[in-house]
């Protein structure tokens, strides 16, 4: 058998070298996910899904289930629950371990790289963006695992990629079918991503129409189909969002945001007492500085090329230049990010998640479209990666668990004590409640949690100054403190965090309303006296 040119040793060697770079890039991208797995980083909200999975693992058909006193509504994310159920069954991995499996850490950077390679002409820039997506802790710490964010971000990135191909290389049947399948799947996985896709495709269609009314890439009919499907079948929209509108609580995030800004500028009054703070769960100065700088770099890195493009179009009086090729994708994505932030206010929060997630690639695409020097773009990318790595290092350092907190047996012992005494409603931070929820899910049981609020926090640490009026400790039977997590901000529902409890432990012990009934060095349980409830 003769040796062909393609099989010659020199060719094989250069092929191996060509494979080395992507392999190293892949490993570098996987590293933060693996570290997060070792540190057992978890979004406390994920525990509810895991508890549901643990409880339903033996059932061949998933059902709605009563978890922690409220119904776990399968129809809100049936695709996600089914997928997680399939992964757990086929791989045989326990739900408690599946929560920390670095699946998203492998998928998201790959999709981000592919998206950047489709829209950018530079392989180095695409690699930097993949690294950024892997290390950015604001997204990475939740999307590294099998959390809903991992799947929904993968689906959205794939849809953004296919839509980019449609805008840049033209519309084909295959690409349209792709986009449709991704929309339908994201619809059953999470209700947010379909909104992002409707905004992206709708805005893209409008921009295409503005540029060239005869162009075929617009697909306004597809955007309409997405919109109608969403409003035809979205349970969350009719139950939660429309319900919020009927209760007139929608858009309350806007005045609260304005109040926050006013307070910073000295125009408003801060609420006295142990005010909640919504910062990431770390007290590290490196984190704070890296976060601030990264936000500034992202904003400048997008605003500068955008301003250049606008100036050039205005100077030449040719506005269609703004919407050429990849730039149209970037403007549509930017608009979708802003639109998603506004749309989310109907849910009671201002969420800039899509903007934060997509701004790096939007900025780079605009940079390329503006024709600015490539070395500056590389510098911008390198700076972003460096800041993301610094921020990730600060986060993982503060989140790294102690030996005691890694001991699941010890944590389970505290849960068993509370379960055995049958002490009713348990007040604790969201992470500890999640561990208890998972333990109960394995037994097919459920308990009633009590969540932290400013008045409850004040009542626990014996704060006597002015604070918000509220329920105090009413309705709570026991207070559980996980000592290993007591030096971190105390998480509660509604994305609220309160000060760490560790500095207040002596005040909690001295609180006459609380009686210490259990302490194994990891978990401390206090019984709340009846008069305090």
């Amino acid at each position: 058998m003769s040796t062909t040119v393609a099989e010659s040793p020199a060719h094989v060697r250069s092929g191996s070298l060509r494979l080395l770079a992507p392999a190293l890039l892949g490993l570098a991208c996987l590293l933060p996910g693996l570290l997060s797995t070792l540190a057992r980083v978890v979004d406390p909200f994920f525990y509810r899904n895991a508890a549901f999975l643990a409880a339903e693992l033996s059932s061949p058909v998933l059902h709605d289930r009563d978890i922690a006193g409220t119904s776990y509504r399968l129809m809100d994310h049936i695709g996600y629950d089914s997928l997680l159920g399939a992964v757990a069954r086929v791989t045989g991995i326990d739900p408690g371990q599946l929560m920390f499996l670095a699946v998203g850490a492998a998928m998201v950077p790959l999709l981000y790289y592919a998206l950047a390679r489709t829209l950018l002409r530079s392989r180095a820039l695409a690699a930097m963006l993949a690294l950024y997506a892997a290390y950015d802790p604001t997204m990475g710490l939740t999307q590294y695992s099998t959390h809903n964010y991992a799947w929904m971000h993968v689906l959205f990135l794939a849809a953004a990629l296919v839509y980019g191909e449609i805008l840049v290389r033209g519309r084909t049947v295959r690409r349209v079918l792709w986009l449709f399948a991704l929309f339908l799947t994201s619809f059953v996985v999470n209700w947010t991503v379909p909104v992002w896709l409707i905004l992206l495709v709708g805005l893209g269609a409008l921009l295409v129409w503005c540029r060239d009314r005869a162009a075929r890439e617009g697909m306004l009919s597809l955007a309409a189909a997405f919109l109608v499907l969403y409003f035809g079948y979205s349970q969350v929209f009719y139950r939660d969002i429309l319900g919020a509108l009927e209760r007139a609580t929608a858009l309350e995030a806007v005045p609260s945001l304005l109040q926050e800004v006013g307070t910073i500028l000295g125009w408003g009054h801060a609420v006295a007492g142990p005010e909640n703070f919504q910062v990431p769960p770390t007290g590290s100065a490196v984190w704070d500085w890296a976060r601030l700088l990264r936000t500034l770099v992202l904003a400048l890195g997008t605003a500068l090329p955008a301003a250049c493009l606008l100036w050039e179009a205005w100077r030449r009086r040719r506005w269609s230049d703004l919407l050429a090729g990849e730039a149209l994708w970037a403007w549509a994505m930017l608009g979708a990010g802003i639109g998603a932030a506004l749309a989310y206010t109907a849910y009671g929060h201002v969420s800039v998640r899509l903007l934060v997630f997509m701004l790096p690639v939007v900025g780079m695409v605009l940079w390329q479209a503006a024709g600015l020097p490539r070395r500056y773009a590389l510098g911008f990318g390198a700076l972003l990666v460096a800041l993301a790595v610094a921020q990730f290092a600060a986060a993982i350092g503060s989140l790294w668990p102690t030996a005691a907190s890694r001991d699941e047996g010890l944590l389970a012992r505290g849960a068993e004590y509370v379960q055995r005494t049958g002490d009713g409603r348990v007040l604790s931070d969201l992470g500890t409640l999640g561990i208890y929820l998972l333990e109960d899910g394995r037994r097919g049981e459920s308990f009633l949690p009590c969540y932290y609020s400013a008045p409850r926090y004040a009542a626990i640490i014996g704060y006597s100054g002015p604070t918000e009026q509220g329920e105090g400790l009413q309705g709570c039977d026991v207070l559980v403190i996980n000592l290993a997590a007591a030096d971190r901000p105390t998480a509660s529902i509604g994305w609220r965090y309160y000060e760490p409890l560790a500095p207040y432990m002596s005040r909690i012990d001295a609180n006459p309303r609380l009686q210490r009934v259990y302490d194994d060095g990891v978990t401390v349980v206090y019984r709340i006296s009846r008069g305090a409830r």
Binding site: S82, L83, G85, V90, W151, R174, A181, Y233, Q419
Partner: protein, 219 residues
């Protein structure tokens, strides 16, 4: 990858390993089968070699995710339900079958097919809009859930809600004794005592279509 055995062997091996093997090998085979192989096999037929390897891999992951989500949702409706074997075999069959059928069919869909698809999207929008939005929630799937719990009273109770019930449906409360509640269609809410474990089943045409367990486990 021109030989048949080279195309079909990886998914077949993965299915066998995912079903038979346990531990790390079974987990890796299962993850490959759910998150990569079906998409990779299907994409080989759709994309050809025009895209870069990274883009093809990314698309394979996304397509696998699409297939896995839809398959895991679908097998729940089948008599054997969601299990290791049903998911693995279905995904494997899709991967192998997709490759075989794709090879038989040959070229991808023609570009000229688009006008029909464009009209279909518009027609779909109109049909779904007309049917689903007037009146609101008419086609909403049936839901059964616990609206709220009351455990402060002497007897625990839960507010059960049914949405989208049809005429002839009935609720079956299975606890210490069995109680049947006929439904007239539409939405229904009612308090039930949950001092002991209680299973609430929504029956339609002789079978349970929704079920929720309440009470008993709460402390």
């Amino acid at each position: 990858m021109k030989r048949w055995w080279l195309i079909t062997l990886p998914p077949i091996c993965c299915v066998i390993l995912a079903v038979v093997a346990r531990g790390t090998v079974g987990a890796v085979a299962g993850l490959l089968l759910i998150l990569f192989l079906p998409g990779w096999m299907a994409l080989g037929l759709m994309e050809g070699s025009r895209s870069t390897m990274a883009v093809r891999m990314a698309k394979a992951v996304a397509l696998s995710l699409v297939l896995s989500v839809l398959v895991s949702m679908a097998v729940q409706l089948l008599p054997w339900g969601l299990s290791r074997e049903s998911v693995a075999v279905t995904l494997g069959a899709l991967a192998v079958g997709g490759a075989v059928v794709g090879r038989r069919l040959g070229a991808p869909l023609e570009q000229g097919f688009w006008p029909a698809l464009g009209s279909a999207a518009l027609a779909l929008a109109l049909i779904v809009g007309t049917v689903a939005l007037a009146p609101r929630g008419r086609t909403a799937p049936t839901a059964l859930y616990v609206e709220s719990m009351d455990r402060s009273a002497a007897a625990e109770r839960a507010l059960i809600t049914v949405r989208g019930a049809r005429a002839g449906d009935h609720l079956r409360l299975v606890g210490d004794r069995v109680v049947e509640v006929p439904l007239r269609g539409g939405d229904w809410s009612g308090w039930v005592r949950t001092s002991s474990p209680l299973r609430v089943e929504l029956w339609r045409e002789g079978r349970v279509v929704r079920m929720v367990s309440v009470g008993g486990g709460g402390r």
